[in-house]
């Protein structure tokens, strides 16, 4: 993703938004300028705090999901037998929309951050698990043979082959799930919290009817997603430089 392309896309969206706002001419769709004005005023005040809370929740969820799913994915990817046993479980659990479990998870894990992080990381967990497993299973047998012939046992294979080979898959999984993660974040923040962008957007849109503030929240959420995409790209650039040649 090039910075110039992002700016171009942003400019086009702003023009469409501006035209739509002028055509509609109603309070529910303020002009981008009005929203930007609110955003700039609100961000140093309460909006920034909500942004940071949401950012923390998403990043923590990504870290938890990757930490748990990567080793499991690697284990399944290198053992056909374990994979055969685990796959039906995986495919039964994977398609359940985790959002429907939000009320139950809140019931069990309480209203704090843990419940929210749990929900988001459950969704990421399966994406990372499946992609890491497939990347490990796809490794060429010749590569494994020749590295085993250098003396590598299971431990060295994990350290020098499976783990580095799965890094691109981990990053792809994160990139693919950022959209879902942010969407679920919104839902999770509707319940029993007074912090986070979800709460902020809902409060301003549905309770206070302060539409510029609501759109400023939406803008912050979009920036959160964009920031995450850029973060993953930067990581990929650092860790997987060999793929870009």
């Amino acid at each position: 993703m090039k910075r110039r392309d992002v700016i171009l896309a942003m400019a086009s969206l702003l023009i469409i938004w501006q035209s739509a706002a002028m055509l509609l001419n109603r309070a529910i769709l303020p002009t981008p300028l009005a929203v930007l004005d609110t955003f700039i005023k609100a961000f140093p005040q309460e909006l920034g705090g909500h942004f940071l809370t949401s950012l923390y929740r998403v990043v923590a969820s990504i870290v938890v999901a990757v930490t748990l799913a990567t080793p499991l994915g690697l284990i399944l990817g290198q053992s056909e037998r374990l994979n055969r046993i685990a796959t039906p479980f995986l495919y039964l659990l994977y398609p359940i929309p985790k959002v429907v479990l939000v009320p139950i998870i809140l019931l069990f894990l309480g209203v704090g951050d843990i419940a929210k992080i749990f929900i988001i990381s459950t969704i990421l967990f399966f994406q990372v698990l499946v992609l890491v497993r497939d990347s490990a299973a796809r490794l060429r047998p010749e590569l494994l043979l020749s590295v085993r012939s250098l003396g590598a046992g299971r431990r060295a294979l994990f350290r020098f082959i499976y783990l580095p080979a799965s890094l691109p898959a981990i990053l792809t999984a994160i990139r693919q799930s950022i959209g879902t993660a942010v969407a679920v974040l919104y839902v999770a923040e509707l319940f029993a919290t007074q912090k986070g962008l979800g709460y902020y957007i809902y409060l301003n849109g549905s309770t206070l009817f302060d539409y510029p503030a609501m759109y400023a929240g939406v803008m912050a959420m979009s920036l959160l997603g964009l920031g995450l995409y850029f973060g993953v790209d930067a990581l990929q650039h650092r860790i997987c430089a060999w793929m870009e040649i």
Binding site: A152, R155, I245
Partner: protein, 263 residues
């Protein structure tokens, strides 16, 4: 050095490749294993590398019963087996890193080695194989010949006494192939290595093998050996002796093809 004793082997649910097969290799010998595809050449190498066990019989290497890959056996495949995410120098150092991870335990690394002492050899092997300028490149930036030289350096840095090569130069162009054949023989003579090279190319077998194991039966039962003592230098490729070895091998291979089971 190598004693293959009464070995029988087939992959699960497939036809027998070896049946009560006996074969001996003396230390320092250079062997070519020649045969048509599917005859079990690569399988024999994989067995000798300790990567799969025989169904029946025993393999002894250097007086020890082989049950798992042996730290002093080097294996080089046609496919190079380089880590795509590691540079040339990182790939060359991979074996040393693996040894450092386990320490000199006699299983993954020889008992008397200290990987730290070997680390300085990285520079030596980079230079020896003409890879200095490519040290920071990734495998996909290299030509086939350069990749195979990296794989050779990665194996030789571990100071093996036995080198198993599975069609290592099959995908290279003729001049690169010939120069790597000569380089391999020079290096192996220098380091006093025993070499077993699998090939399906008659010319390669005639050039590389001081002894040639012809795998020309289904399943392989008796070791059919052709002695081919010669000085493997460029001049040999043009000598009548080389031509006559090639002719002999070709005649044998053709006979094999005629005897092939018809499916």
């Amino acid at each position: 050095m190598i004693d293959v004793h009464d070995v029988t082997f087939a992959y699960p649910n497939q036809e027998l490749l070896f049946k009560n097969f006996h074969w001996q290799v003396t230390k320092g010998e250079t062997w070519a294993l020649l045969g048509p595809s599917g005859c079990g050449k690569s399988t024999l190498l994989t067995l000798l590398a300790g990567l799969i066990p025989p169904n029946k019989g025993e393999i002894w290497i250097d007086g020890k019963y082989l049950t798992r890959p042996r730290p002093r056996t080097g294996l080089i495949l046609q496919d190079y087996g380089l880590l795509p995410w590691a540079t040339v120098e990182e790939n060359i150092a991979l074996g040393l890193k693996i040894r450092r991870l386990y320490g000199p335990d006699g299983q993954h690394a020889p008992l008397n080695t200290h990987p730290d002492h070997q680390a300085s050899h990285s520079t030596y092997w980079l230079k020896r194989l003409g890879l200095e300028a490519l040290a920071k490149k990734y495998p996909r930036q290299l030509s086939g010949g350069q990749r195979q030289r990296t794989a050779i350096a990665r194996t030789l840095i571990l100071e093996p006494d036995l080198l198993l090569m599975d069609e290592p130069f099959a995908s290279l162009d003729a001049p690169t192939r010939e120069s790597l054949q000569e380089l391999t023989l020079t290096l192996c003579a220098e380091k006093k290595l025993t070499i077993l090279m699998v090939t399906h190319a008659i010319e390669e077998a005639a050039f590389m093998g001081q002894k040639i194991l012809l795998m020309d039966a289904y399943p392989v039962q008796k070791a059919h050996i052709i002695d081919n003592p010669h000085l493997a230098d460029t001049a040999y490729r043009r000598s009548p002796a080389y031509q006559s070895t090639c002719t002999l091998l070709r005649a044998n291979m053709e006979r094999t093809r005629d005897n092939e089971p018809k499916f």
